[in-house]
């Protein structure tokens, strides 16, 4: 399912995204006891893999829908991804942001041409404000992770990894809303050779781990994790894909996340968000499982506040 759609998605978004480099580090391989290939979506346009899903979903809209614009609610990378992808496609982007979102994030959205509507900093207020914009403008609502075209777009990061390294034993991605890991699982299933997909998740926001156990979409009562991109829960479109194609989810502590993040910064000399460090933390946590294996890891993004580093 979706094999051809993945290939078509990659063709569709190619002109609008970077084919990001895949980096390796001898020292990190030694630490992991494995061969790790890092797919650097922190170098992606606007700084995160979200660009892939946003571009794919917007490019798939009908001309009629494009004329009416798109709307999303996000305080983070997806807001920027939708703004830039919409601009590239000549489409109007309405972005709902909580009134307490950092000015720097609002500025980034504006710089990409997104039109911001502020709302109360409550999850219900966000959806209600977005619904209102849909009702008045006819704009298409784009969900950051629970949308098939978004999922397929995110999966192209895994597809590119497997095009360059078809013999990966494992493909790892962080699990937040579930779009990236679901897309990567589809890519591994169709384009890997017995390549297993594993999600990395903070123990402090372990909703997806619990969801796989219980068989229903669980939520987080608290989500006190530095991996701020991974606080959200799964959705009804990506969850069945994750159930079917994701092998397991590994939980890591906050200390393990920060240590993995620091290792990647110091040894690879690249800037990654805390969320990105979660899969590598999972590799370091399970040395027996990963010993001498070939592992692809999607480094999801690099938008961090340099004034607020955890080390």
């Amino acid at each position: 399912m979706y094999k051809e759609d993945l290939l078509a998605s990659l063709e569709r978004i190619k002109p609008y995204i970077h084919r990001t480099p895949i980096l390796t580090s001898q020292l990190l391989n030694q630490k992991a006891g494995a061969e790790v290939f890092f797919k650097c979506e922190n170098f992606q346009k606007m700084g995160a893999f979200k660009m892939r899903g946003a571009a794919n979903a917007i490019l798939k809209l009908s001309e009629e829908q494009k004329a009416k614009g798109v709307v999303t609610h996000s305080s983070g990378n997806f807001a920027q991804a939708v703004s830039l992808s919409a601009k590239n496609a000549g489409v109007k982007a309405y972005i709902v942001m909580p009134s307490n979102a950092p000015e720097v994030k609002k500025e980034a959205v504006r710089s990409y041409g997104g039109e911001i509507t502020e709302c109360e900093p409550l999850i219900e207020a966000r959806q209600a404000t977005a619904d209102k914009i849909v009702a008045t403008t006819g704009a298409a609502f784009l969900h950051p992770s629970n949308d098939l075209d978004v999922i397929l777009g995110q999966g192209t990061a895994g597809l590119e990894l497997l095009e360059d390294h078809p013999d990966l034993d494992f493909l790892l991605a962080p699990v937040g809303g579930g779009g990236l890991v679901a897309g990567c699982a589809l890519a591994a299933h169709h384009f890997g050779s017995n390549c297993k997909t594993i999600g990395g998740e903070p123990a402090e926001a372990d909703d997806a781990y619990r969801s796989l156990k219980s068989g229903i979409i669980e939520k987080n009562e608290t989500s006190n994790t530095i991996a701020d991109g991974l606080r959200t829960h799964l959705g009804d479109i990506n969850f069945p894909i994750i159930q079917k194609y994701v092998d397991t989810i590994i939980l890591v502590t906050e200390e393990e996340i920060v240590m993995a993040m620091k290792l990647i910064w110091e040894r690879m000399k690249i800037i990654i968000e805390p969320s990105c460090a979660v899969p590598f933390a999972a590799v370091l946590k399970e040395p027996t499982l990963f010993a001498r294996k070939k592992i692809g890891i999607v480094l999801s993004g690099g938008n961090v506040d340099l004034k607020k580093l955890p080390f």
Copy 2:
């Protein structure tokens, strides 16, 4: 002069270095009003271009010299580069370091197999201690910048840039001891097509700028710059090359260095040392000179203390 030697140096060191990626950024191109190609020596083995010169000089030693080892004095990247290159070649490395050098730097040298001799934190004590090791062991002394094989090794960074982008109008490198900029100038002269080499130097350590004016090697009475790799002065081997082949040197302020460094961190998501940011600061400072030109910049290294960031 040295055209064939540059090519031979690259062949010689190829098995021991990374051919580092060349990155670009649309946003930084917009800011610069030019097309900038960043040669990422921050991704080089041990984290800096110094690996090239050290490897080249050690591999060129006679078997007899190799059996007796090498010695250098350095508290920074060259100490690590010599240690690792010597280890690769099965050669003993004696590293003289000031007693107040940070423990983390000593640890890095040890991890690469270098044998540390501590000395008083004075420049005369360093050379005297190194001389003593040469006298007792017969080891070959390697200077970090004023050595022809080191210069040619560093120049391979520029050579690789020009192999991939033969139509560069300018090649820029930071100026510290002068090894990198001299090597790059040779590369630009022989392998560029009317490609001019320009050095970037902190105004707070403007010895090379003054040397080009006066025609003699000037020194810094003070060197109060964040670009700690650029506090040293030129030498009698690299200065004539710089006089002949470097077009000009552009001075930048501390504020301009920090701003350029922050831009590269935030927009390119890569970790660079303050010294690396100097050439890009120079490009931003002279928009008329560089308007619509193709510019290669060697990002010299990425070994920074994440606890001491200037922003």
